[in-house]
Symmetry: C2
Subunit: 126 residues, 2 copies
DNA sequence: GCCGATATATTGTGCAGCGATATATTAATC
DNA sequence: GATTAATATATCGCTGCACAATATATCGGC
């Protein structure tokens, strides 16, 4: 296990959930993940972000690597372990809960502001 | 304006959206925000996080302060400016979009993993 | 006088995410 | 055969968010 992370921020670790979720669909190698996430229109995942993240997840036993020798540079395929599936279940559920609470505040506010974009200065106008 | 922030991470700035959204409902002072967020079951907002955040938003002209002299320590009420409303509109909309893309990946994966929590080792069982 | 609650604020630290860079392999282009 | 581009993994240093710790101020209750 890597040292206890300080992931306290509201949606810190959402990248972990994203990667775990993709791997739940089947093994992937890093470069393919980069392209996949970029193509899906999701927040562009950078190589300098992904590879350390994969190493962390591997160190935590959530994913396990297999080298594939193809033409060109060899690919490192990552497979979700049972521990990884468990982590995905928990983290994704936590994420859903946090999301719901967040949405309960944001959606009404968004509606309110969208409906009244620039409230009049004149109190008689209300 | 403060120098261009490096807010690139997936849901970085979600705290900003949360605070802006609450302020869209009416002016609040810092300590009340702390209690409000904690009571709402949302990720507990810490004083060491909130006050610098409020100062940043004030410096960016998104909110404007008014001191209230009450019994006890004076309160600093923050009101959403028109610029703040505009920022909320945009940031919350961006947030919704990012969310939808994220959910499109996470929800199916969560269902899949929940339905097959521990796939059998025996290939003949498939 | 002291403690606890209320209330704002600053300082130092940990670390996630990123830009920049390095490295390896192959195919295409010059 | 040198150069470029695409594929593919990896590391290092920087920035800035969020937090713990701490300081400060005012009031009420003991």
């Amino acid at each position: 296990m890597s040292p206890v992370p300080n992931r306290k921020s509201l949606f810190h670790g959402s990248l972990d959930v994203l990667v775990l979720a993709i791997l739940a669909d089947g093994p992937q190698y890093g470069y393919a993940l980069l392209k996949k996430v970029a193509d899906a229109g999701n927040h562009e995942l950078k190589a300098g972000t992904l590879y350390p993240l994969l190493h962390r997840m591997e160190a935590d036993g959530l994913i396990t690597p297999t080298w594939e020798k193809t033409t060109g540079r060899p690919r490192k395929w990552y497979t979700l372990t049972p521990a990884g599936q468990k982590a995905l279940t928990k983290q994704a559920a936590d994420w859903q809960a946090a999301l719901a609470r967040m949405q309960a505040v944001v959606l009404p506010a968004l509606r309110r502001v969208t409906r009244f974009p620039d409230p009049p200065m004149n109190p008689a106008a209300g």
